[in-house]
Symmetry: C2
Subunit: 157 residues, 2 copies
């Protein structure tokens, strides 16, 4: 048992007991999961997944320039090997086109297609709504705070 045990009931005060480390991290994980589910729901009508959507957004950001495969992977939330298969499917759906690099033939340049762009256009609004809803009840100051606190959790160590 930890030493904090001896503080007992908390001197009646206005502030609740500080949450345990485990409670904080759990809350982060649960919240992210909830957000993931809401995003997935918003994407469902177009039958694409959250990762596919992310890839398309990244490629739209570079449009009309292409990006090499691993550069796309790096801009996601990490992870490399999966990116190939992700792009495989997007290419089958003709939302993305890939061409072997000319200068450096190790590269595979990926570019979003017209179809990909218009599909994204359909999704922007629903996704923005999910995001707006998520933070609707937070004041600007609370939003800054939340981002700052999460940054601390993520960066240190």
């Amino acid at each position: 048992m930890s030493t904090s045990e001896r503080r007992g009931k908390q001197r009646g005060g206005s502030a609740a007991a500080a949450p345990k480390p485990h409670e904080v991290t759990t809350e982060v994980l649960r919240t992210a999961d909830e957000l993931r589910r809401r995003v997935a729901a918003a994407l469902a009508p177009q039958a694409i997944t959250s990762q596919q959507y992310n890839v398309l957004r990244i490629l739209r950001g570079a449009y009309p320039d292409p990006l090499p495969t691993l550069e796309v992977g790096a801009r996601m939330i990490e992870k490399t090997p999966g990116i190939t298969r992700l792009l495989d499917r997007l290419e089958e759906l003709e939302l993305v086109k890939r061409v072997r690099g000319v200068e450096d033939r190790r590269l595979v340049e990926c570019r979003i297609t017209e179809g990909g762009l218009s599909l994204l256009a359909e999704l922007d609004e629903p996704i923005n709504e999910v995001n707006r809803d998520a933070v609707r009840a937070l004041t600007p100051s609370e939003r800054r705070s939340l981002v700052r606190l999460l940054g601390i959790v993520r960066n240190l160590k």
Copy 2:
């Protein structure tokens, strides 16, 4: 477009501009992902996954009583069908034992084994360390704050 649009550029002030909704949600997702990776790293030595660990913890919480399959699933972070296969593997590893319910034969009662308990014992410390490290740089008040803000994001619609 929302009414907040008219506030324009933010009157130069000391506070940074409020992050956009999309930036807030992205931060939550990124942070959760980072945490997931740290947890996975802590579990790697015992070769179990984060979901398997969660199941074992839930079952330890009920020990020595068993829990029906879907009750375990419900206590995770949602999701049902996956729980069966998860338990299949844990049973193969002999970390969990399942028996058909006697009263209600639709139920499958799951109980953690001795082996499961001692494996968990090995992991408690490393996992606690991950959690402690994650919040180490947060003051008690900041921890409360973070949990509160995440709660707002999660609960409101």
